[in-house]
């Protein structure tokens, strides 16, 4: 008999399609897992709405549950429940090790350009905080580009959402 814990453990093995060092569970995008009459119901929400990997992620979750000998019903929920504050501490550490500066905590109130430009990001390569915002946008919707003045290396930062 498959348990909710088995399902969470299995989902924790699914890498994010764009940043494979971090799993869907680390990202905090799995909202809920329920088992009813042997059927596994998973609710998940994308990080960004223009995510092109929604369907592959759904299929990956179904396949993982299938390996456990059960059937999954994956529902995509578009609400305001996810923010970058939902990324787990383990997930943040994995991002850092892979060369991504993890997102800063969401400020109380409105996020604006002044905060984004000032927010101190530690360079994931040399550890210096002498870094600056190069581009609000990056190669995928979740990333901005920063530049480290200490080691002269551009690096990617997970946007605070």
């Amino acid at each position: 008999m498959v348990t909710v814990d088995d399902v969470w453990a299995a989902l924790a093995e699914i890498p994010d399609p764009e940043i494979p060092v971090i799993s869907l569970v680390d990202l905090g995008v799995i909202k809920d897992v329920e088992i009813e009459d042997g059927k596994v119901r998973i609710e998940f929400t994308p990080t960004f709405m223009g995510c092109p990997a929604l369907e592959p992620m759904q299929r990956a979750m179904e396949a993982k549950v299938d390996e456990l000998g059960a059937t999954a019903e994956v529902r995509v929920v578009l609400d305001d429940s996810w923010s970058t504050d939902s990324i787990t501490p383990e997930g943040r550490e994995k991002l850092r090790l892979a060369g991504f500066a993890p997102p800063t905590p969401r400020p109380v109130g409105k996020l604006d350009l002044v905060q984004v430009q000032r927010a101190t990001f530690r360079c994931p390569y040399c550890g210096s905080t002498d870094t600056k915002l190069e581009n609000l946008f990056g190669p995928t919707p979740c990333r901005s580009i920063r530049y480290c003045d200490a080691c002269r290396q551009p690096f990617e930062q997970f946007k605070t959402l």
Partner: protein, 230 residues
């Protein structure tokens, strides 16, 4: 599906108008991919386009559920004249000052419209609007950064000014009548000058450029009908 027809609820009509705005503007923004004045803007406009089209998809899905259709059918199977987008997003603006003026005017109007949707009694609409707004915050920061940059030189200020004046009637047409005075107030405060008293270019009329864009946007879909296996 005729705009305002009996078949479409007020909710569907409103969401469709916003979805069409986001889809068409997303398409227009993507026209900078590969040819923006510098690499950072190539990346920025491409990323903004991806977000806008993602928002359109989410809104089309809400409407599709209500009308018993699909997001793709709503996005691609209507005739150009059935789209509910505002003429502001239809214009093909391959000139930088006008692109920035449209970007800033649209994002400013969109922020006001999203604030109203976030306060909606309909939890699905409020949820989607709030999720969209998190992403739109970055579009606004980007637009504000460019307005600052253009206002910082005489030439930039003059070019932005001319573009804003040209697009101002279109910008007013993005919003319902009751939100227009606030848009004027925000824009005048930011630009430090009065904007002309003009008749808004309303939703429902279309620029010739929309039909051209529609041809391109729906070409693959029309050549390979739904259900085609690749």
């Amino acid at each position: 599906m005729e705009p305002g027809s009996e078949r479409v609820s007020e909710r569907a009509d409103l969401l469709l108008a916003i979805a069409d705005d986001e889809l068409v503007l997303g398409w227009r923004n993507s026209e900078w991919t590969g040819i923006a004045p510098f690499l950072e803007e190539d990346v920025a406009f491409s990323s903004i386009a991806q977000n806008e089209i993602g928002h359109a998809r989410a809104l089309y899905e809400l409407v599709a559920e209500e009308l018993g259709t699909t997001a793709d059918e709503l996005a691609f199977d209507r005739k150009p004249e059935e789209y509910r987008c505002s003429p502001l997003v239809e214009l093909r603006r391959l000139e930088w000052a006008r692109t920035i003026a449209r970007h800033w005017l649209y994002e400013t109007a969109d922020e006001m419209r999203l604030a109203a949707l976030k306060a909606s009694d309909d939890p699905e609409v409020a949820g989607v609007a709030a999720k969209m707004d998190r992403e739109e915050a970055y579009h606004r920061m980007h637009a504000e950064m460019w307005v600052d940059r253009l206002l910082s030189s005489d030439e930039g200020r003059a070019r932005l000014s001319e573009a804003i004046d040209e697009l101002w009637p279109y910008a007013l047409g993005v919003l319902d009548e009751e939100l227009r005075p606030e848009l004027r107030q925000r824009a005048e405060e930011r630009l430090g000058r009065k904007l002309p008293e003009v008749e808004p270019v309303p939703r429902g009329v279309h620029e010739a450029e929309l039909a051209e864009l529609w041809e391109e946007m729906t070409m693959v879909r029309r050549s390979a009908p739904a259900g085609t296996q690749w």
